[in-house]
């Protein structure tokens, strides 16, 4: 296996389910050692892409390379090099945490002393103390997620796939997983392919982000690049009624306005100097008799990029839904 190759490469990746094209020609390159955040609304095809990358699903067309191997023709080579924690902690409630990790280690061909050593290494990550000897069915959601993550790491994979690892968790558990994922990458150099519904996680963690919409890769870049693509400042205006064409045109005609986007009753004005523009925007809307519920000035977030690319805000998507 060549060390120079990217960790994950797809070319023209397509997956159809009958007449439905869930993934439509995706080209991805994930570099070794990076955290790649894969974002998209429910049903966009995120999970389908992950399942193809981890050998659970064959592509209809296109090529994939994971850790230098083809998941279709060399699935075992891929499996030896990846770990995965999929949506919902995939665990067996009728085993103890220790039994589950031991079985996982045995299936990766580890010797008993290697398994014991790895369990020792992962103890802090799991951080469930005596509960390691308890049935997994008695664990909390956060404990299950951490055990799931440990199971994915028992064999020291080169690439870790995490499909919405924090969905459904309370903020404290979310933060713990979030911090651990960063440390796994920083300290062990593990490449991480991460899907999440929490854009602030992707923003803070991911070196690069890809946004998938309707099976296509709609945007890709570092979080900073993507946010800069929306301009340096954004004025977000929530109107009392849906946006009219006249209001849109009036705002577009103001000086120093880079772009104006409208989605339902939300207007987004991009500008290089939002602070200088905000009063002009408010006056113009007032002059036109347009009712304003809220007006805020801020720098762009990934959610703004998401809105521009997909037409909806991810943060408003209903969390926790199975997407594919």
């Amino acid at each position: 296996m060549s060390q120079e190759k990217d960790a994950i490469v797809t070319r023209g990746l397509v997956r159809e389910f009958g007449p439905v094209r869930a993934v439509d020609g995706i080209d991805l390159s994930v570099r070794r050692g990076e955290i790649y955040g894969f974002l998209g609304p429910n049903g966009a095809g995120k999970t389908t892409v992950i399942r193809m990358l981890i050998t659970l699903l064959s592509p209809t067309a296109g090529s994939i390379e994971v850790a230098g191997y083809d998941p279709v023709t060399q699935p075992d080579q891929v499996r030896l090099r990846i770990g995965a924690a999929l949506q919902e902690a995939a665990l067996d409630d009728k085993q103890t945490g220790r039994e589950l990790l031991t079985l996982q280690g045995r299936l990766y061909g580890l010797k008993e002393r290697e398994i014991a050593s790895r369990m020792g290494d992962l103890t802090d990550l799991i951080d469930i103390g005596d509960a390691m000897g308890r049935m997994i069915g008695t664990y909390s959601g956060g404990m299950k997620r951490r055990l799931d993550l440990a199971a994915a790491l028992i064999h020291q994979p080169e690439i870790l796939f995490l499909d919405e690892p924090t969905t459904g968790l309370d903020p404290i558990s979310r933060n713990r997983i979030f911090v651990e994922v960063g440390q796994i990458n920083t300290n062990l150099g593990v490449t991480i392919f991460l899907t999440t519904q929490y854009l602030e996680e992707a923003d803070a963690l991911a070196h690069r982000v890809g946004i998938i919409d309707r099976g296509r890769l709609a945007a890709q870049g570092t979080p900073l690049e993507l946010k800069h693509s929306r301009g340096s400042d954004l004025i977000i205006i929530n109107l009392e009624a849906p946006v009219s064409d006249q209001a849109l045109e009036a705002l577009q005609s103001l000086p120093n306005v880079d772009a104006v986007d409208a989605h339902d009753s939300e207007l987004t004005v991009s500008s290089g100097n939002g602070a200088a523009l905000v009063s002009a925007v408010a006056l113009k809307l007032n002059e036109m008799g347009v009712g304003v519920r809220e007006l805020t000035l801020r720098t762009p977030t990934l959610d703004d990029v998401f809105l521009q690319v997909t037409g909806s805000r991810l943060q408003r998507e209903e969390a926790g839904q199975e997407e594919d």
């Binding site: 699903l57 030896l80 009728k94 045995r106 990766y108 050593s117 990550l125 020291q156």
Partner: protein, 268 residues
């Protein structure tokens, strides 16, 4: 917060464990789960005892008008087949599929066949264990084995082998459908096997149409082999037919189970 990932004591290299190690690893998990779920085994013990008591109670006097027929000995193999048929971990396969744990297993380099054979190995342990109380029940009601202690072992193993090969059907349904209700219904497959054979009376006493069907039913030969071990002594031809019938069913059931497993593990 504790940092788990800042150092590792050793570097490990994942590798294929090999067929036997994979099979034993899967079997160990299944046996462990079985021991924790002993309450699910109770019906497998109650049904044969009930069937044996009711059938012998209702038909013994009538059936023993047939010269030379010991009806309790005749019914003991039926009881043992009821005890061992359909005792499988197929429901746990469905649970694994539904919880996503099956996906976790198949993204390891585990040998796919080991995922099935490990479960069946655990089933075999339980199935053979289930024959013990049935044999003891036979002793209590006065059944003795013409073939002696070795014949008892052969009786248990043949029943165990049947139970094992039959399990291919519920596993095939579990892997194919991932549905608990469908797996539960798989026991119905056993009904034609068991009721269209020499369940209640010897084949010579059956109506011609049912006797003809019984000729083509593999369970007829398995029951004959089991009965011969009790009442006739060692009869190699009868035992061989019993074994061949079991193997025949096994080839079919395992083919179906492995095909369903392959379909589940590699989603085209």
């Amino acid at each position: 917060m504790a940092v788990a990932t800042d150092a590792t004591s050793i570097t490990v290299h994942a590798r294929k464990a090999g067929f036997f190690r994979d099979t034993f690893a899967v079997a160990r998990r299944a046996v462990r789960a079985m021991l924790r779920d002993l309450e699910t085994v109770i019906p497998a013990l109650c049904v044969p005892v009930f069937m044996f008591a009711v059938t012998v109670g209702a038909l013994q006097d009538f059936a023993e008008n047939i010269p030379g027929l010991d009806y309790r000995a005749f019914q003991l193999p039926v009881a043992v087949l009821f005890a061992v048929t359909g005792v499988s971990r197929a429901i746990t396969v469905v649970t694994d599929i539904q919880t996503g744990y099956f996906d976790r297993l198949v993204i390891t380099p585990v040998n796919r066949v080991a995922l099935l054979l490990g479960l069946m190995m655990a089933d075999f342990v339980l199935i053979v264990a289930l024959t013990i109380p049935v044999v003891i029940m036979g002793f209590i009601v006065g059944v003795s084995f013409e073939t002696g202690p070795l014949g008892i072992v052969a009786f248990m193993l043949l029943a165990g082998l049947w139970g094992l090969v039959y399990n291919g059907f519920p596993y095939a349904i579990a892997f194919k459908t991932g549905n608990v209700a469908a797996v539960n219904l798989s026991f119905l497959l056993f009904f034609p096997f068991l009721f269209m054979t020499t369940l209640f009376i010897p084949q010579e006493q059956m109506t011609p149409w049912l006797s003809t069907i019984a000729d083509y039913n593999p369970v007829t030969y398995i029951l004959a082999a089991e009965r011969s071990l009790i009442t006739d002594g060692w009869d190699p031809a009868v035992i061989l037919y019993g074994l061949l019938s079991t193997v025949g069913v096994g080839v079919l059931s395992l083919f179906l189970a492995l095909a369903a497993l392959r379909g589940r593990a590699t989603r085209k």
